[in-house]
């Protein structure tokens, strides 16, 4: 079976002028996503998760490495070819306030996508398709004549999803798409995403800093730190039985609802700051904050290797599993 998405040794370096240091936003990421699968990508600021999303959507071009979408090499596509690729891969952004033109009616915003991609030839057909798309995301077609400011945050995010689905992509990338929503609205949008995935056979890349949300929706989870994948496994492996010390640190930092009077021993949070991607630590990027770090960790960058049925980039992974 051809992978929906396959990236190999993907790197992206940004330069802000000759004097300033190059920022390695992504440092050799390889992964593949099967059709119909949802890959969750979690990590903190500067881990490269959004850069990875933008590269898969080809909103950006990698410095080195390759990107294949449904078997086609799209790494350096441009022009007409790239427009064709957009038919397969769509992205939904974090801020529905920022991604909709405030002076354009909701219906027009969705119709615009159909026009750009020449998907319905008559105005009547377009209007019909707009109604259908709004219905698909659970919005009353009557909302088509409203302006974005007249909608709630949840409704606006639904419009964002309708726009992404307008051209019937097979892959949808959600970049922090539920992060700015209130919990009650977030639940509603997550339920919608899950329902649409089944209904339309979609492949998802779900980027978030919130492990709780990713755990709910992803089949597999990739944990990123300072530009590379630290651990990649099924949602259960990564979120319930992590191996990499960073995944463990991340997990123990996520607050759990306290349901009994025993506050329990407070876990000591991982110390130190997240490194600046312009000046990453030598060896394993996590070694300065890692409680297990040895001399090797500061010298050699660990490769992503199979440990306990998942992939882990840690020199000490095997020993950690044995403990």
């Amino acid at each position: 079976m051809t992978a929906a998405v396959s990236v190999r040794e993907l790197s992206r370096t940004f330069r802000r002028g000759r004097r300033s240091a190059a920022v390695q936003a992504l440092r050799g990421v390889s992964l593949s996503i099967e059709p119909g699968e949802t890959l969750g990508v979690v990590g903190e600021s500067g881990c490269g998760k959004s850069t990875l999303a933008r590269l898969i959507a080809r909103l950006d071009e990698p410095t080195t490495g390759t990107i294949e979408i449904l078997g086609d090499d799209v790494t350096h596509m441009h022009g007409q070819e790239l427009r064709q690729l957009r038919r397969s891969v769509q992205m939904v952004f974090q801020d529905p306030y920022a991604s909709l033109n405030p002076r354009r009616r909701v219906g027009t915003a969705v119709e615009e996508v159909l026009k750009v991609h020449k998907l319905a030839d008559s105005p009547a057909a377009r209007t019909e398709r707009v109604d259908e798309l709004l219905g698909l995301v659970g919005l009353d077609p009557g909302l088509a004549s409203r302006y974005p400011t007249e909608l709630s945050g949840g409704q606006r995010q639904r419009v964002g999803i309708a726009r992404a689905l307008a051209i019937e992509p097979s892959i949808v990338i959600f970049d922090e798409s539920v992060s700015s929503l209130d919990v009650s609205v977030q639940a509603e949008i997550i339920n919608l995403m899950v329902a649409l995935r089944e209904q339309l056979d979609l492949t998802y890349v779900f980027i978030s800093h919130d492990l709780g949300v990713v755990r709910h929706i992803a089949d597999r989870i990739a944990v990123m730190y300072v530009g590379s994948i630290q651990e990649l496994g099924t949602w259960r492996q990564v979120s319930d039985d992590p191996v990499h010390p960073y995944t463990r640190a991340l997990l123990s930092a996520v607050p759990h609802m306290r349901l009994d009077d025993q506050a329990g021993p407070q876990e000591t949070p991982v110390l130190g700051e997240i490194p600046n991607p312009a000046d990453p630590p030598s060896g394993c990027a996590f070694h300065p904050r890692c409680p297990h770090a040895t001399a090797l960790c500061s010298e050699e960058r660990p490769a992503l290797r199979a440990v306990a049925d998942r992939l882990v980039a840690c020199h000490l992974a095997a020993e950690i599993v044995e403990q």
């Binding site: 709630s152 409704q155 009650s184 639940a187 492990l211 607050p255 609802m257 306290r258 949070p269 700051e273």
Partner: protein, 325 residues
Amino acid sequence: MTAGPVLRLEGLTASISGGGEVRHLIQGVTLDIEPGEKVGFVGESGSGKSITMLSIMGLLPPNVAVTSGSAVIAGVELAGLAERDYQRIRGSRLAMVYQDPMSALNPVMRIGAQIAEGLRAHGAEGPQADETVRRVLGDVGIPDPQRIAKSYPHQLSGGMRQRVMIAMALAMEPELIIFDEPTTALDVTIQAQILTLVRELHAAKNTAIVWVTHDLALVSNLVDRIVVMYGGRIVEQGPVVDVLTSPRHRYTAALLSAFPERHSQVRDRLAQIPGGPPSLDEIQTGCPFRTRCVHAIESCDAMPAVEAGEPSHSYSCWVPIKVAS
């Protein structure tokens, strides 16, 4: 005056006026905060939690004002207090740590000078102020306070800037510190560090804390008591574990079930709350949650009284969830 609550809110109501109309943003907010107590204010956007805090701080926007009720801190009535008198209270009795330190700090002033400025405004002399600056920066776990005092805000990370804000709040040893979503913009490992810091500072100084957040899980690990706000009202409040395990108000229960469960092995559809947050018009009378509540009855058109449940657990609901006895 040492006995009695640090802060007493009674029927606090703040309203917005415009176009000849006066509409309430928060109504009848009543609550005592005891010395050394840690209280979490929880609510979604528009619940009134921030307006409540700004009312206490005397920092409401120009078209919003406290229209009735009272807020008393250390024997001083804050409602209607003149700005000059308020300035004496802010910082010394009452301090606030904001969500975004970058907009709360002056970008062109060194960290040390900013902290000292507040101290001097409250009467500290030069060398004494500098000494306090170094001490409070050390207290919040900032390595090398001398160097950081000479830095500008942009030279620090988000986590460090938030530590500076906490140092500023601590500088005059107020009775109460309000934390308004102080970790929302931080990464989770840094958030955990700030939580640990606040816990340690509380253990050392016993300052009363109000922590405002939309994250129930986060606040449950810090505070003694949770106050749930919705549509400008306190709908339920009580000891953390009571409220989280046996909520009485329908909104609290709905909110709790909408969280993605972090331990569950099955991933069912998440519980949704039908409809959206109420409009300003919808919350003027009656229970603010009635338009989204599947249990609403006719009585809900009038605001329910505050019912006392178990000791110190109270709620305002006509059709509360019954506790299994």
